[in-house]
Symmetry: C2
Subunit: 458 residues, 2 copies
């Protein structure tokens, strides 16, 4: 393995087997069609009044580089499921690229249940195969960006930083979570890969182990502070937080911050603040960590804990109270090539099973603002509809399998989030019992639903 980069993250096989069996069935059944799929979250998880769309960059990266490596094709050829599939299909996989188009909400856009975050249109095999990857990468980052925004909301202007990589669902999840957390309003992350790869500002303090490795806690502080004089944040709770603080003051260190990680954080942070100020260390900030979430932060601030930076781990990178979004990727339109016709008519599709249905046809979401720019309601409409006073949220981001414009800097996306989030009604941003934002369905879309339902179920 040594020195060989792991190609996992972009493998086309990071998908469900049925995407590939359906591909074979379309190919060998000579079913040639263009199809549109829309990716959306059916309903928001508990306590969530909105989501922040995220993960589009990684989705587009995947689509641009999608191809089958030789050993992947060989694996499928030998798979018992594919024993009757034609040799031509495997040749086709060797040439396979994504050539379709993508419309999407820009990352950082507030989005609600049922609204498409992304729409893929292309040859049906191409648009189908990417389902699993797109859902995983977009709904995960959307979930984490949303959680970050909640933590930032709770922190009332104090900083929130992501320290959760070790509790993420594997190494890659930590990197993606760091990206989404920054996008959602965190000041940065401890994850260094996210720093290198996405430009997320990286932060770090020092671990208990560093203190424990030294016979003398004070010596540990001195050695560490000497190397990082402007930036050192010292962890003081390894044995006794207040005694550790005295040791720092004694050696004349002026740390950028001290970190508390256990005990009564409200009381301790007050004592530490008082002692720091008495010692003339007014610029030394207090970092707090230790199983924090938006509710713990709210309680600490209600107790007037003088915390400057909340370092959040598990709750952030796993979105612990709501660790999954019900993301789906639904076929909404199919346009089958037919012999003798220059151009086939689109057919609108929807699912009407016992307890679920989906709206047919490609869609656009229009956002309407009231006085002062505050968002008032959305309209979920058919793609061709026009609402001059509403802002259309889905934009063309990929054509013929290539991005239509360069990626937006992550810091710019984050700035946009900070600018537009306050436009959401406060009731929708509540941490508990958030209200639903009004999403209306256009008359034209309701009519289409009725039409397709009658046609499909007759």
């Amino acid at each position: 393995m040594f020195g060989v980069p792991d190609p996992t993250s972009h493998s086309v096989l990071m998908t469900d087997l049925y995407e590939l069996t359906m591909a074979a069935a379309y190919f060998d059944g000579d079913f040639r069609a263009s199809a549109s799929f829309e990716l959306f979250v059916r309903t928001l998880p508990p306590e969530r009044g909105y989501l922040l769309a995220a993960g589009l960059e990684q989705a587009l990266d995947h689509l641009e580089q999608l191809h089958f490596r030789r050993e992947e094709i060989e694996y499928l050829r030998r798979h018992p499921m594919f024993q009757h599939v034609s040799a031509e299909f495997f040749d086709y996989l060797g040439r396979f690229r994504f050539t379709g188009e993508v419309w999407a909400m820009p990352e950082g856009t507030p989005v609600f249940g049922g609204e498409p975050i992304l729409r893929v249109t292309g040859p049906i095999i191409e648009a189908q195969i990417v389902e699993t990857y797109l859902l995983a990468v977009i709904t995960f980052q959307t979930m984490i960006a949303t959680k970050a925004a909640r933590l930032v909301e709770a922190s009332q202007g104090r900083a929130v930083v992501d320290f959760g990589s070790r509790r993420a669902h594997g190494p890659e999840a930590g990197v993606l979570a760091a990206r989404a957390a920054y996008l959602g309003g965190c000041i940065g992350t401890s994850n260094v890969e996210a720093g290198l790869r996405f430009g997320v500002p990286t932060y770090g303090t020092v671990a208990h182990s560093f203190v424990m490795a030294h016979i003398d806690e004070q010596r540990a502080f001195r050695d560490f502070a000497r190397l990082f004089p402007e930036n050192v944040i010292l962890l003081i709770d390894t044995y006794d937080s207040l005694r550790a603080l005295e040791k720092i003051i004694q050696i004349g260190s002026r740390p950028k911050g001290v970190r508390l990680d256990s005990g009564d954080l409200a009381e301790l942070s007050r004592q530490v603040r008082r002692r720091l100020d008495d010692a003339g260390l007014r610029d030394t900030k207090i970092y707090v960590s230790g199983d924090l979430d938006e509710f713990a932060i709210t309680r600490l601030l209600a107790q007037k804990a003088p915390v400057d930076v909340f370092a959040v781990g598990t709750a952030l990178v796993t979105s612990k109270d709501a660790p999954a979004l019900g993301g789906v990727y639904k076929l909404v339109e199919v346009c089958q090539e037919q012999a003798g016709h220059r151009r086939a008519l689109p057919r609108y599709t929807a699912k009407f099973s016992a307890d679920k249905f989906t709206y047919p046809g490609t869609k656009q979401v229009f956002r309407f603002a009231g006085d002062g720019g505050c968002y008032d309601h959305d309209v979920l409409a058919r793609a061709g509809e026009q609402y001059p006073s509403g802002e259309p949220l889905l934009e063309l981001v990929m054509k013929d399998g290539r991005r239509t414009c360069p990626a937006t800097a992550l810091s710019a996306i984050r700035e946009r989030v900070r600018r537009i989030l306050p436009n959401l009604p406060a009731t929708v941003r509540e941490l508990r019992n958030a209200e639903h934002f009004p999403v209306r369905v256009s008359a034209a879309l309701e009519d289409l639903l009725t039409e397709v339902r009658e046609e499909t179920l007759r």
Copy 2:
């Protein structure tokens, strides 16, 4: 990006910044020591009486290939945090490899709170830097393998298959979850990458979109069944499950299975089973999916739903009811080189903050069986202790940075799990209100704790 494999999964920078600043402080402070760290879960999450250790293979892969690429070193050199760090440190990073040793529980071993799953011993910088990655990759797979075992327990002999990739925390999490789910007792996964990479059996049915893309549902069934005659599993709930079943029977298809995904699954599965049997399709199995977890499976079986295979998604790949383990990686022993001494004595370390403490020193876990092989209790002991009647669980798996033996086949690990899990008391395997398995601490370890506490806090 095209064609360039993504190196993310194994980057040494998939770590927290403080691991690297501590490395710099050890290096520039000329602190040369060998250190031992132990990775364990402090307390089990709610409703869990045991965990199944998993993820060791990926941990060892990471350790064997660990190195800094040129651009990673450049990134650190330019990082404001590292402005006072010596040039020699960056040269050292260029040569950096993991040269230490690892003791670990074999994958699939039942493990309890406070028991080390893995111990790393090596030069302190090497053993420290890998903390974040090891925690993420081991605790995630351990959590998923455990969840899989719960689902298998609930299914009372029916099969459970992982269909969750799209709801996983990013693409890599789906692959790792598929591996852990198989290890924990699932029959396989929908994730094709996990099939290629880990040999996990892959399963698939067909999506609603395939039915929707065809004007005629029956035509869709026929086209799909024709290509996969022995293996086809047809999804029948796109519009109306019972009507869809009639269409399948009419065309004379003999599918391997039919999948239900919505509605009253207990009632529907009974009706479907009856109709299948009447039509002579006794070998056609019933697959059920749709937000299943161990409790939904228990309810379905209590209602005598004739389900053959439970396809589980979100609940499995996110361990939804307990989406994080409190995994920690603690320094337990440090042996500092000192001028003039041939061999330094080890110093045992522990953390004694306000509400947490850890046991010092390297450890071994001994498992004791009662009559009939049923596990009776564990003893958490010092590494050098001997208990001839107990089974030592931690084994040497890496020496001088290289595996001591080839990887065990995943299917063999899975078989071992199936063999040994029944040795756990039934009360510990309960899905609700599981009892704690008795883990005793040896007298020698308690003595060491007392000694180190007095020494550290005096």
